[in-house]
Every structure is written in structure tokens, then in C-alpha cells.
Amino acid sequence: MTRKPLNSPQRLRVLLLLAAAAFLATASSSRVTYSQESQSPPPQGQAPANVEVHVLPVQGRVYMLVGAGGNITMQVGDDGVLLVDTGLAGTSDKVIAAIRTVTDKPIRFIINTHVHPDHTGGNEAIAKAGNTITGGNVVGDIGASAGNQAAVLAFQTVLDRMSAPTGKQAPTPQGAWPTETYTTPERKLFFNGEAVQVIHIPAAHTDGDSIVFFHRSDVISTGDIFVTNRYPIVDLQHGGNIQGVIAGLNRIIELATPGPMQEGGTMVIPGHGRLCDQADVVFYQEMVTIIRDRIQDMVNKGMTLEQVKAAKPTRDYDPRYGATTGIWTTDMFVDAVYKSLSKKD
């Protein structure tokens, strides 16, 4: 496994957080409950009963694991297993069992696309089921004990939100936290014989979004910037913004190379929903952009939020993506778009 060492501020940050957490013994067994810290969105933090985790081969070395909450991307090769996201807490045994139907190689790496518990809930259990090859500068950087679990990489704000300043109660147990973070526009790895590009999309679904591009396999894992089963969740309380979501969708389209007649080629694993390619992202990007433009026009005309909702700017897409109940209703989406566009920076 090839790992880049953390830079000094990142390393210091991780060490301080780990030390503080251990000293204060603040690791909690409770799961993240978003209702305590935000009005939107409340992604489901608990796994429903009778979860089934399915494995779908995508292409190259990449598989999609479905059913554990958010979709999980799995890359498999001689170096071991790399996962993008870990699903809901409580599904980890089934996720690991699903992985073992494909390979008996160790889980080496986890990349979190963002902080929500349907994507990070399995961090602790799944990381503990893996291990990191230690030695060389890895021991010097993060200690020999790091070898006892898989490494967990995320954008810095994911760690910030999962942990807490010294003396404060962390919302998630220490074992679930990222062990490596990045603060630059992107982070590159080379794992299982291919380049793995981790790209930060600023202020989109949250303020800590990453998309992951497996170059040789030609697969992009998007996190919740792109989903197929609802309007995009814009988590304003965690730094999200509709403009960032659209920028993220545009970036995915730019990265992807379609096959003949705009089909296949680069495959795209959404945060939720079915396997896709660039054309599916284009349909979704067009939908989100058109709705953004409509609401922007209404904001420019001085319409209030209630007037915008009454105008139903999403009504042509509501039968496909809308909801009146559940974790992310059409009303919440319009609210978030309006507030994104009304924000004075």
C-alpha cells in the first residue's frame, strides 16, 4: 500500500484529537443524532431491521455495495480493500460479510465522502476489521498502533465535525474518526495498481465533500453530491450550498468520459440509488441547474420564500424526485436552495 504522510498541521491535529479523546475518555457508544445539531438534513442514523447488503460488480477493480445506508464503493486488488464510505452503524457485519464474498484481502483504506452517519456509521467497526501496513515513516507519523485498523481518510472538516475540541463531548466515538485528513483541493493515492484521486468539492452537500475517481477502473464515487432517488440534500447547517452541489455535478461530468452514444465509459456510483454513467449525471445536473435558475430568478425579483414555494418551481420534477414525507422533502429542498441563493457573503 502506498500512503502519503500527513503534512505537519494535519498530523498535529490528528494526534491532538486522538490524545484528547483518549485522555478524556469521551468516546461515546451513541450514534450521531442530527436532530440535536441541525434542522436539515436528518439523514437516517440507524439501520433498518433485516438489512441486506448486495454486491454489484461495476468495472475494473470496483464494486458497489448496496443496502447499508449510503452506497459503498469497494476497490479490490493485491494491495487489499479500499472502501469509499462505510454505511450505517449496525450494518457493518453485513458489509464485511459482503466484502468477504469477493475477497479475503485485508481492508486497508476507507475514504469518507462526507460526515453523515449513513456514510460514516460503519467507520469504527469496519476500520477495526482491517489493518494498515506500518513501518517506515508511517510509524513515525501516527504511531505503530495505527496498524491495528484500516486508515480512514476524509476532508478535514469531516474530522472536525465528528470530533470535538478538548473538553467537549464528541458526537462520535474516537474509533470512528478519520485517521488522516486533507485540506488541499485534492489528494492522490496509488492503490491496487491504479491512481485514486480524492477531490474536495467545497460547500456542496456539506462543507466536507469528497468525490473519488478510480482512474484505471474508470469509476467515480460521488457521495451525496449526486443521488438518483431524490433532490440533492443541501445541508446548510453543515456548510452546504446549492451552488456547490451544481459545481460538484459539473466536476463529475467534466471528469467522466462517456462511451459511444453517451453511454457507459466512466461509471458513476451515486451516494444513494442505482449505478449510473455520465448521461445520468447530466440529466440530474440539468434538473438541479434549471431549478436553481428558476429560484434565482424569483430571488432576483424579490419574492419571499413563501411566494417561491407557492410558485412550485420544482413541479415538473416532483413526480420523479419530490417527497412530502421522509428525511428530505421537496419543501426542504426549495427552502435550502432559496437560502443558498439569498445568502449574503
Binding site: 448486495h54 454489484l56 458497489m64 448496496v66 451544481i246 459545481a247 459539473n250 461530468i253 467534466e254 462517456p258 459511444p260 452514444m261 453517451q262 453511454e263 457507459g264 461509471m267 440509488g273 442505482r274 449505478l275 449510473c276 454513467d277 455520465q278 448521461a279 445520468d280 447530466v282 440529466f283 445536473q285 440539468e286 441547474t289 434549471i290 435558475d293 428558476r294 430568478d297 410558485a311 418551481p313 413541479r315 415538473d316 420534477y317 416532483d318 413526480p319 420523479r320
Partner: protein, 282 residues
């Protein structure tokens, strides 16, 4: 009894075979299929208000975007294009049982497989394609095909969409050298009733099908991420179709009612728009 059941289960002796080279006939819906439909012509489509709004918002400039230039037609729409087709069957060499029919469509180089071996459809989380996943079975002398896992596509090529949650039934009917394909689209998102279309082909063993390369280019210099569309209430072209053809604007808005012959009686009591004056060539 066993023999009787076995005979019922497989293709009957002398059963219709759709294999061959087929040339399309355009006598049906010529204006919609070849020149292309008019903006705002939703007549005869069983669409809901959401589909209507998609159509009203649609700007043809959307097709200029590189991501859309080579977008292929869906399984239910591909028949409607300038589509010379080739159909051939695949048999298992050991058992000589029919495994699949394959269809090559000239428009967009589309290659399709209709599985005849009873395999299940993929799970819901599998990828969708323009042509979807198709399985076929014999119903008497008719080949009936069921398709799901479709990408979004057209109901009509003027912005009226068919969603990616739609399914399609097709019936292949051969009468000598004529092949009729009846296509029924079921869309829980944008259609209020099943939408039925037929397309006719003539057996043409001498036809040669030309390749259909498509290369996306930057046709218009636009900032990244721009999506051409009309804001609600601003599409100035919607009245052109009913005015030009003397059709009541209300009828042009479509809906299931407009599919049926008795709607023509209702149209007689509707107001029409003044026809536009023809531009002078002088």
C-alpha cells in the same frame, strides 16, 4: 400430455421469425419523425402537468451541449427515427434452442439484445441504458418483449420526457414481408395512461446500413454548467404550433383525452388562434 406441454413451451413449428434486414416506412407520423415535432405540440400524448412543464421549459439549444449531441434514442423511441434495422437470432449451438434476438438500429449505432432464455431482469440498483434490459416470449405468433432499466428519454422530441422509471412492452407482428412493431410505454412519472405507437418496416434483404459515427464538439462557446431552458411563462414559441395548424391551443397541450377520436368533436367548440401571415418572398 408431456409432449403437449413441451410443444406449448417452445417456439411453435413454422412460427414467425422477425430476423432479417428491414427498411422503415414513414407514412405514419412523418412530420413528427423526420422533420421533427413542433415546439409546443403535445397533441395526442397522455401526459400530465409535470411533463407539460418539462416541454414548456425545453430549449432546443440543450441538444447543442456536448453531453447531449450523441445521446441515443430509448428503446421505445428508437423505432421512430430514420432507422434501418437488422434482426438476427442467436441459438445455443448444442441444443439449438433460441437464446436471444439481436437488433441493430442504424440511428445512433444502437445494438440491442432481447433475451429469450428466461433469465431474470437485473436488480433495481443496476445501471440503466438507452435501450434497457429486454426479455422476450412468444404469445401465439407474436413476439412480446418487456423492457426495463431504461435511461430517461423522449416521449416526443420537443422536450416531452419519458422517465427512467418507465417500462416498455413491444409486440413484433410479421405479415410476410411487412413487420409492425407495436410499442407501449408505461411511465408512472410523466404519463397518465399507457402510450401506444406502431412503426412499420418492409423486408429489404439488399439494404446496406451505413455507419452512424457521432462525435461531440463544442458547437457554442458557453460558460461551464449553463443549461439552456425557458423560465416558466417565458417560452414565446408555444403558440406557434396551434396557430400554424389551426389547432385550439387547449388541444395542443395534450393529455390522455386528446388521444381518442371523440376528442375531435370537442375540438370543434374550442377557440383557435389566428394563423400567422406567410412571409413574403418578394
Amino acid at each position: 400430455m408431456v409432449l403437449f406441454v413441451a410443444l406449448l413451451a417452445g417456439p411453435a413449428f413454422g412460427q414467425m421469425d422477425p430476423s432479417g434486414e428491414w427498411s422503415p416506412r414513414f407514412h405514419e407520423d412523418w412530420l413528427e419523425r423526420i422533420p421533427g415535432p413542433e415546439i409546443g405540440d403535445y397533441l395526442g400524448l397522455p401526459i400530465n402537468d409535470a411533463a407539460r412543464m418539462r416541454g414548456d421549459s425545453w430549449d432546443a439549444a440543450l441538444i447543442e451541449l456536448p453531453e447531449n449531441q450523441c445521446r441515443a434514442h430509448g428503446a421505445d423511441y428508437a423505432w421512430r427515427g430514420p432507422s434501418n434495422i437488422r434482426i438476427w437470432k442467436e441459438v445455443d449451438l448444442a441444443t439449438q434452442q433460441l437464446v436471444a434476438y439481436h437488433i441493430y438500429t442504424s440511428a445512433y449505432n444502437e445494438y440491442r439484445t432481447i433475451h429469450m432464455d428466461g433469465r431474470p431482469h437485473p436488480p433495481e440498483y443496476a445501471a440503466h441504458t438507452w435501450l434497457g434490459f429486454s426479455t422476450g416470449k412468444w404469445e401465439g405468433n407474436t413476439l412480446t418483449v418487456f423492457t426495463d432499466h431504461l435511461k430517461e428519454n423522449w416521449v416526443r422530441r420537443n422536450g416531452i420526457p419519458r422517465s427512467d422509471l418507465a417500462t416498455v412492452s413491444e409486440h413484433f407482428l410479421r405479415h410476410g414481408n411487412y413487420l409492425t412493431v407495436a410499442v407501449i410505454t408505461y411511465d408512472p412519472i410523466y404519463l397518465t395512461e399507457p402510450f401506444i405507437r406502431t412503426t412499420d418496416f418492409v423486408y429489404d434483404p439488399q439494404q446496406t446500413i451505413a455507419p452512424w459515427p457521432c462525435e461531440a464538439v463544442d458547437e457554442v462557446d458557453r460558460p461551464e454548467g449553463v443549461v439552456p431552458h425557458h423560465l416558466p411563462g417565458t417560452n414565446a414559441f408555444l403558440d406557434e404550433f396551434p396557430a400554424m395548424y389551426g389547432i385550439p391551443p387547449e388541444a395542443a397541450r395534450g393529455g390522455a383525452e386528446t388521444m381518442y377520436p371523440e376528442y375531435m368533436l370537442k375540438m370543434k367548440n374550442m377557440k383557435t388562434l389566428p394563423r400567422p401571415k406567410k412571409a413574403s418572398n418578394q
